[in-house]
Symmetry: C2
Subunit: 99 residues, 2 copies
DNA sequence: AGATCCAATACCGTTTGGATATGGCTCACG
DNA sequence: CGTGAGCCATATCCAAACGGTATTGGATCT
């Protein structure tokens, strides 16, 4: 799993359409289709339902979407914190923290 | 920035020694050195101080280490949640959340 | 039925990542 | 001191991953 894959996944989920997501990501549709498929295979869980009009998130996809957004936000926060030279402490969010 | 890079960074930080970290990661030392360097360049911030005995975290590295661990933990949590089929909600941790 | 829209597959070139070989520097120790 | 050991950095090569183009198959809407 890569951060790019997570970014791609979020874009597809938001667009509901691989082709439009690809345009938004400034990559071509076929590689995007492959990255999504590869993510599903790595997780061992399908994330989207394919329809003739595009794709729709499955429940597992909804779960992944929330996590993916949290991860990407945390990456952004890390960059900001490090570049600001701030000694920030991090912790896992309550909903995903190990109990 | 990639998740692999973050994993590598954490290993180097924990070992304080690129060669030992490479062994632990089961990759060779030169590619690990390059990945660390590339991460520092991407961030525009040095993370380690190089000494004759190994490497030591700089303050910016300490900050990054906390964030990197949080990110990797969140990735693990995402995998577990999705594979468990659980509709978990995620949120950013307070210390890194946008205010 | 035909046009359209969409994801999927096949194939290719480029880029990235890891391995091996080697150099240079610093510290430990006689 | 000087010699050897340990460690990071650099150079070069090979393999794997990524993105692009071309094209196909299938579903929907006139």
């Amino acid at each position: 799993m890569s951060l790019a894959q997570l970014k791609y996944f979020v874009a597809v989920a938001e667009e509901g359409n691989v082709t439009r997501a690809a345009t938004r990501l400034r990559i071509a549709q076929p590689p995007l289709t492959r990255q999504i498929r590869s993510l599903e295979e790595e997780l061992g869980v399908p994330l989207f339902e394919r329809t003739a009009r595009g794709v729709r998130l499955l429940p597992s996809g909804e779960t992944m979407l929330a996590h993916a957004r949290a991860i990407l936000a945390q990456v952004d926060a890390a960059v900001v914190a490090v570049q600001a030279g701030a000694p920030v402490q991090t912790e896992a969010p309550p909903s995903v923290r190990s109990r």
